[in-house]
Amino acid sequence: MTIEITVNGKTKTLVAELSLADLLQDLGMTKGRIAVELNGHIVPRSQFSSKTINNLDSIEIVQAIGGG
């Protein structure tokens, strides 16, 4: 079974339901300062492992970059 999610505006197909921590690992985002929104709600870092990604979830992953 596959599920379809949106990560930073791009559609992504996953083979199984993962935790948010697994997804971030897959994306190579295990280090560095990021913040994650799941369907418009912030997920605290402490809940990355316990949060399961479901079909049609929309995820935003952000970082700090240069700006004025």
Binding site: G9, M29, I34, I42, V62, Q63, A64, I65, G66, G68
Partner: protein, 263 residues
Amino acid sequence: MSTTQDRPLLIAGVEYRSRLIIGSGKYKDFEENLAALEASAAEMITVAIRRVNLGQDKDEPSLLDIISPEKYTILPNTAGCYTAEDAVRTCRMARELLDGHKLVKLEVLGDQKTLYPNVTETLAAAETLVAEGFDVMVYTSDDPLVARRLEEIGCVAVMPLGAPIGSGLGIRNPYNIRMILENAQVPIIVDAGVGTASDASIAMELGCHGVLMNTAIAEARNPVLMASAMRKAVEAGREAYLAGRMPRRLYASASSPVDGTFF
């Protein structure tokens, strides 16, 4: 020996020796940004919050690896937001990203050509953010009544523009800035419009508590040298303000005494 008796700039309970806040946009690379930051002696630096590029090299350093949140006060901004909702969302993300850090720069823009603030959305976002416990430094127009309203809402600093963002036109309406200063109980920081060192001095001579700038340093031919110039300009303007300037006179006033002339 310094003869000034200046107090530090106090923002949300934190004391800053520097009255200059710089940005981190438009630099060639992080190293140039850091060198400019050091030359400016600024203790606070703005950052933007944007999507992580999914294809990016995970070992590539990020801005906050180079400019340390342990050493500098990071001021996440809501640049690029055109609604209160987007600005509030950005601030919540920033707070999570920076481990509960409450200080934010609120800016809600009105249109792309002028980048003028959308004041009604700014007021709405400020109310929400203050209620959620954020310390809000707010970018706004140079309207004294709006500035006062933002202070009443509970913003920790009000930051009127000197001229449009990135325009380098200087302080276009010094009289409005003076009116804002007269009413203010919180720091007033000119944000946007500074083009060169004298503009920063003018802002400080008016009595502003600080100056925030990005493009004036980042787009200079030599950003690090300009950062150093801005440090001096802000200090010079502050000292001139504290010293109290002489009155303007239409006619001359001789500096040498008339008494004792032998001719």
